[in-house]
Amino acid sequence: METHELIEESLLTLTLNKARTFLAMLGVIIGIGSVIALVSLGQSTQSSITNQIQSLGSNLLTISPSSQAFGGVRGGESIQSLTLADAEALKESTLITTIESVSAEYSSRGQIIAGRNNTNAQVIGVLPEYQTVRSVDLSSGSFINQRHVDGLSKVVVLGTTVATDLFGENSNPVGQTVRIDSQVFTVVGVTASKGGTGFNNPDESVFIPLTTAQKILYGVDYVGSISVSAISENVMQQAEDQITQVLLNRHKIRSANDADFRIFSQEDVIGTITSVTGTFTTLLSGIAAISLVVGGIGIMNIMLVTVTERTREIGLRKALGAKRKIITAQFLTEAVMITLIGGIIGTILGITVSAVITNHMDLPFVISLKSIILAFSVSAGVGILFGWYPAQKAAKLEPIEALRYE
């Protein structure tokens, strides 16, 4: 008996009891479907976040203040360790050869009011270099310039979302005024949308001169962070080393282990996020895989019922010359057909669900061939694993016992 005949036979048998076959498949459909959908959604989220971070500039280094360590003990307060002077020093130091531009910033959340509308946004005090370092594009007006910074001007560049919230769609807020913490600011520009969602979304921020933020709004003399763009992605490590050296010298700290600042590259951030989303994806797929096992048990259950029901048929087939291995193959093929067809339906379902959700949430749709291949091998494996015992039970029936069975 050839393989294609076995498949034909089993498909025929499976169509004889469609409702039961479908119910047996359901476990596999749900199992495979959820594995595919969850893996796909996990990867979509990951690639969305990665893209977003990369769009902020992949040659970007961020220097944040951190508490200085004294003999292994880190103090809790010196979060004010970075100043505008540090940024100036990085800009001017002859030791540094790999840096394109330097920007310092200080940010805080604030309430932005325009007429009757108001919104809560990240208020970021910036230097003109911010535009290059973070690759900010403007849809209208201009960005903060050096004159604004020097003159402590009360001017603001609005993120697109903030502009829309305050002035409505398709309006040009340039030249109008908004109030931030009861100070009146003139709008000089609006950023172009960067898309995406999540933390520190530039679309949901407003930009004011750093000096204005420090002296007029918040009364501080330190900066929140310093952003540096390296001349290329290939010199990130060198840039990091040079910055560390200059800052350690300025802060009179001998060992890099005691540094009162930390340097992150976008790669570090992506790495962290990838590992977090990866863990979640694995965890969720694991849960989905459990449902696949439950589905497999369902198939075994139904196959066992089928064997009992078809005892006479099995006896007859043996009387007509079927060997054990043919009976085994027949029942195994039926089980594998159930899981394979279930696997195909589940895959289609999973892809559809993922496509609908990613479309709805504005995420990139990612489906990996690897997860589909995995789903198929797992579903075939489940069929073989859980079909084996019923098939053996069928094959071992004695023909006379089976023929006598009523």
Binding site: K318, G321, P399, I400, L403
Partner: protein, 238 residues
């Protein structure tokens, strides 16, 4: 020991069933032989052991003791797979309850032994058609058992038994479930295929049906009671 030249050679066949402590002797020292081309009926009341005998001859069961040669092969010494081959190639079964696969066409039902016997697909269909025409069902090739009468279903079963061109047709109460007028039709088919050279061994408890055979063996309590030539064979075909 020489290999007998008869088609079937049974020597001192005994079969004992054990149900807990109780031993049931289903067959005791059964010896007889069947030549090629015979039409033999084995008769006996229920419980006489005739079904057990049929199972042993059909290679579905093994005797507790004794020797059984079928077409030169000592059956009780064969492995399970070899027994399956014997059932496939040498024996054509006809059961009381037809045992056709439900919701499956006559053509497909007749093809099943050929499928297990490794006959190529186009050849299978050709032969299945031939045998279905032989039993008078040339116009019922694509009917399923549910669409056929009892007699027609049994004729499909006979076509199936013939499909591998076996050494012997084993029929177990072939008319036990069929109305008497149709029973005669079945016997007609048997006599016809017997005339073509097929050996037939039929088990029945009906005297009337046994009369269609050339030779009748009576079994009582697991032993042969009588083995005689049927002088008054009732012929359906002229």
């Amino acid at each position: 020991m020489s290999i007998p030249k008869n088609l079937i050679e049974l020597t001192n066949i005994s079969k004992t069933y054990k149900t807990g402590e109780i031993e049931v002797k289903a067959l005791q020292n059964i010896s007889f032989s069947v030549e090629k081309g015979e039409f033999l009926a084995i008769m006996g009341p229920s419980g006489s052991g005739k079904s057990t005998l049929m199972h042993i001859i059909g290679a579905l069961d093994k005797p507790t003791s004794g020797e059984y040669f079928l077409d030169g092969k000592q059956v009780e010494k064969l492995s399970e797979d070899e027994l399956a081959d014997i059932r496939n190639e040498k024996i054509g079964f006809v059961f009381q309850f037809y045992n056709l696969l439900p919701r499956t066409t006559s053509l497909k039902n007749v093809s099943i032994p050929m499928m297990y016997g490794g006959v190529e697909k186009t050849e299978r269909i050709k032969r299945a058609k031939k045998y279905l025409e032989m039993v008078g069902l040339g116009d019922r090739l694509y009917h399923t058992p549910g669409q056929l009468s009892g007699g027609q279903q049994q004729r499909v079963a006979i076509a199936r038994a013939l499909s591998m061109n076996p050494s012997i047709i084993l029929a177990d109460e072939p008319t036990g479930n069929i109305a008497s007028r149709q029973a005669e039709e079945i016997m007609e088919v048997f006599q016809e295929i017997n005339k073509k050279g097929n050996t037939i061994l039929m088990i029945t408890h009906e005297e009337e049906i046994a009369q269609y055979a050339k030779r009748i063996i009576h079994i009582r309590d697991g032993e042969i009671d009588e083995d005689r030539h049927n002088g008054k064979q009732k012929l359906v075909i002229k």
